[in-house]
């Protein structure tokens, strides 16, 4: 059950039209608030951001290892694609690399590459198993390493000593209707794999700027360390990073320090709260606002954490935020910075009592639609978390 958006512009007339509220963003209306104070000295902060980003980036050696491994995997897949039906009954439409390795936002200590394989035949559980066996056999031909296979909900993982390839299965759209949950893979996971392919395509077209990638890494790191940011899925992080860096009146990428601040500011202003326009998913039809994947409680939690961190940042606590010093407790405990007492924000959302829940039936078509999409998107979250 979603909360009702309560933005302005809602008429009292019969069919309520949902008008999303666009939260305040300094960057979009700089003229309205001319600067009367000198701009903050950000050299140290910028350097810390850049340095932290380097620490978070997977080392070139790691990247080379994975690249080597994924190349072996794709070569093996290439060989399987052309095999005649008699030898291998799984028909493969195509395969694509997806996920953070392909996007160039891989984090240190997360040596996993993802490949999405689209079946032309129906994706039965047996066929996935067959594919995994064939693939490993092929890979062993030119690989001396020990390979282990682990089945997952969305496909399987092939693990070598220091690298992992996560194979996700999808099927061509015309097969989606013929699925049977007992025999085949779950439709939602298949859809999520297709979405992952769209995400990579979007990322390569729109978010190739290095500042965006930096921002993605910094945000992923924050969502790992701060419990309050954990509801942010990798896809939300990609979109948010792109938004704060690229979406401004000049259409020029913002410097990383400004982008980082802006990110906390718009989250504090309720960018991802109910009723907010947030970010519309560019890879889905029908105006899905990405933050509606999160529950209301999670939306409150994300906003709350951002608000606390914004105030910590303003009082010079950037080292704690970036994880250079201190612990993640900075978001949940009272701290003192330069003589200023910074107390964490408190959550306000309470789960409605059961009775009230019944009364609050979604009246808008859009809400219902969102609910449906939420199901899909949630699956996708688990999907991408494997990245």
């Amino acid at each position: 059950m979603r909360g009702r958006p309560r933005s302005g512009g809602m008429g009292r007339g019969a069919p309520r039209l949902f008008v999303p509220h666009i939260p305040f963003d300094f960057v979009m209306c700089e003229q309205a608030f001319p600067r009367v104070k000198p701009a903050p000295k950000d050299d140290e902060f910028t350097q810390a951001l850049v340095k932290r980003n380097q620490e978070l980036t997977a080392s070139t050696q790691d990247q080379a290892t994975i690249l080597d491994f994924i190349t072996k995997c794709t070569t093996a897949l290439d060989a399987l694609v052309v095999l005649p039906n008699t030898e291998f009954e799984v028909e493969i439409e195509e395969y694509r690399q997806v996920g953070s390795f392909k996007k160039g936002t891989m984090m240190v200590g997360n040596a996993i590459a993802d490949v999405a394989v689209i079946f032309k035949s129906l994706p039965t559980k047996d066929s996935v198993k067959l594919l995994s066996e064939k693939l490993v056999a092929k890979m062993k031909e030119d690989c001396t390493n020990e390979l282990t296979v682990e089945m997952t909900d969305a496909g399987f993982e092939i693990k070598a000593e220091n690298a992992t390839v996560n194979v996700l299965i999808a099927t061509i759209p015309s097969n989606m209707r013929k699925l049977n949950s007992a025999m085949h893979l779950d439709q939602k996971t298949l859809q999520a794999t297709l979405a992952a392919i769209r995400h990579v395509r979007w990322f390569e077209e729109s978010a190739f700027h290095s500042s965006v990638k930096m921002m993605v890494r910094l945000l992923k790191d924050m969502s790992r360390r701060f419990e309050g940011f954990q509801p942010l899925t990798p896809w939300i992080i990609d979109l948010l990073a792109h938004h704060v860096v690229m979406h401004n009146p000049n259409r020029q990428p913002l410097p990383i320090n400004e982008a980082f601040r802006r990110c906390l500011k718009i989250l504090s202003s309720g960018f991802f709260l109910p009723g907010s326009a947030g970010i519309v998913d560019p890879c889905e039809s029908g105006n899905v606002r990405v933050h509606t994947v999160m529950t209301l409680e999670q939306q409150d939690q994300v906003c709350c954490t951002a608000q606390t961190l914004l105030r910590v940042l303003a009082h010079g606590g950037f080292k704690q935020i970036l994880g250079i010093e201190g612990t993640a407790a900075v978001a949940t405990e009272v701290n003192v910075f330069n003589g200023v007492v910074v107390a964490p924000s408190e959550k306000v959302y309470e789960k409605p009592v059961e009775e009230e829940k019944k009364e609050e039936k979604p009246t808008e078509k859009q809400e219902e639609k969102e609910d449906k999409k939420n199901g899909d998107a949630k699956e996708e979250k688990t999907e991408e978390e494997m990245e």
Binding site: G8, S269, A343
Partner: protein, 215 residues
């Protein structure tokens, strides 16, 4: 000077005396001529700082009449935000925020909105701006339209006060978004019926607070 009427209704009027000549003194070119021609200040002159303050208040009142008074929404929001300061919470950062800052902020937001906005949206925007840290050290500050030189009206708040107000606004913003307008305004939830429709709730809450409070 304070005048108080004795019979009911008891009305108190503060009368402050000042003169425009008081403000010219720090002016650079006026200073030379002033030192030559002007007689030395009479010994019983009123406090210079207080007189300048009174002049500023006068300018602000004029500004308010020109910019804020014609817009009903603006006036409503200014009043509601002032009412926050009257709430009997143990921790109430709104007391720290003077009404001039509030009026300025509201006017900025109202006049920069693309369409005319409803009181709820306007209040939400004010809270958003505060939440985004306009008061905080790295923020842009807020320019005083009634001073010739760019002056930051927020300069008289110390860091802790700014921090507290920001935190308060952030909390209020989330209360507002999650449909707890009544907590914000310090009024009872008008009716269990009201929960049915968000728009209704916000409107009624607005009205009841206005009725309950005469300034």
């Amino acid at each position: 000077m304070i005048l108080t009427s004795v019979s009911a209704p008891i009305v108190t009027v503060h009368v402050t005396l000042t003169s425009t000549t008081m403000r010219q003194i720090p002016n650079a070119d006026a200073e030379e001529s002033a030192t030559k021609s002007k007689k030395p200040d009479p010994p019983d002159i009123l406090d210079h700082h207080k007189c300048c303050e009174a002049l500023a208040t006068l300018r602000r009142a004029k500004w308010f009449q020109a910019k804020v008074s014609p817009h009903q929404t603006c006036v409503i929001i200014c009043r509601i935000i002032r009412s926050f300061a009257c709430q009997p919470h143990s921790w109430n950062p709104w007391k720290l925020l003077n009404s001039w800052v509030m009026e300025l902020l509201t006017e900025r937001i109202y006049s920069n909105a693309i369409n005319t906005i409803t009181p709820t949206t306007c209040l939400q925007r004010v809270l958003e701006v505060l939440s985004a840290g306009i008061l905080l050290e790295e923020g842009t500050g807020l320019r005083d339209p009634c001073e010739k030189e760019p002056t930051d009206v927020l300069a008289n708040l110390n860091l802790q006060q700014k921090e507290d107000i920001t935190k308060g606004a952030q909390h209020f913003l989330r209360l507002l978004v999650f449909g707890k307008m009544h907590e914000l305004l310090g009024v009872e939830l008008p009716d269990s019926q009201v929960r049915k429709r968000a728009a209704d709730q916000e409107d009624t809450a607005d009205q009841s607070s206005k009725k309950g409070k005469i300034e």
